[in-house]
Amino acid sequence: MKVTLTRRYSFSASHRLHSDAMSEAENDALYGKCNNPYGHGHNYVVEVTLVGAVDPATGMIANLVDLDSYVQKHVLADFDHRYINEEIAAFKTVVPTTENLCIEIYNRLKGFPGAKLDRVRIEETSRNSFEYAGGA
C-alpha cells in the first residue's frame, strides 16, 4: 500500500485553442467555440499529488506550507488571471489544451524538494479533467 497526499489549488485564466499547423477552417472545425480569436476563460482546479513515506516524527509526507508556497511561486503567480497563449512562454508554440497544461505544470512542480511529485490533475470545468504522471 502506498500513501499519497493531494492538495487542490485554483486559478483563473484564459486561452484560445488554435494550432498554426492547421488552416483557419480546420481550426474552426476542430476546436469550435474554443477557437474564438478573443479567447475564453476557465476557473481551473489543479490537484497536486505527492507520494512518499510518512515521516514517523511529523506524520506527514511533506510540509503543506512548503508545498503551498512552492505552487504559489511556480504556478499560481504566473498563471492566475493571465492569457495563457500570450503570457506563458511555454505556450507560444504549444496549444494550451488542458492536456498540455498538465505537462507544463507537472514539469514546473517536479523539482519540489519536500517529496516526490506523483501526478498533476487539472479540472478545466466540472465535467473535464486531465492528468499527467510524468514518464513517456
Binding site: 500500500m1 502506498k2 500513501v3 493531494t6 492538495r7 506524520g59 506527514m60 517529496a115 516526490k116
Partner: protein, 115 residues
C-alpha cells in the same frame, strides 16, 4: 511546524471518507461487494471509533501517532483491509477538507528516496 494545527485545545474537521473496493462482480449478485455489508463495516470500524472523537486521545489505533490526514488514512486502511470479504480494498481516500486529501492505494509501498 504545525502552526494553527498545534493549538493545544485541538481543532475539528468534517472528514469525508471514500472507500473503493476492486474485484470481479459476483456472477450471481452482479456486485463486487454488498454495499450494506460495506456500510456496516464502515460504521463498526470507522464511525464508531472516530466520529465526534478527539483523535489524539480517544482512538487507540492512533496512540503514539500524530493524527495527520496521512496517518488517519493509514489507520483506516489497516482497520478495513483484513475485513473485506469479497473483492479487495483498492483505495482509501480521506478528505480532511475539500482541498486536502490523503490516499492509501493498493500496491507496493513507496520505495524511492524521499528527496
Amino acid at each position: 511546524m504545525f502552526r494553527k494545527c498545534n493549538n493545544p485545545h485541538g481543532h475539528g474537521h468534517n472528514y469525508t471518507l471514500e472507500v473503493t473496493i476492486a474485484g470481479d462482480p459476483d456472477s450471481k449478485t452482479g456486485m463486487v461487494l454488498d454495499l450494506v455489508e460495506l456500510k456496516e463495516l464502515l460504521e463498526r470500524e470507522v464511525m464508531a471509533r472516530m466520529d465526534h472523537r478527539f483523535l489524539n486521545y480517544e482512538v487507540a489505533e492512533l496512540k503514539g501517532m500524530i493524527p495527520t490526514c496521512e496517518n488517519v488514512s493509514v489507520v483506516i486502511w489497516k482497520l478495513l483491509e483484513p475485513k473485506i470479504r469479497m473483492g479487495k480494498l483498492h483505495r482509501v481516500r480521506l478528505y480532511e477538507a475539500p482541498d486536502l486529501f490523503a490516499d492509501c492505494v493498493a500496491g507496493d509501498e513507496f520505495q524511492g528516496a524521499a528527496r
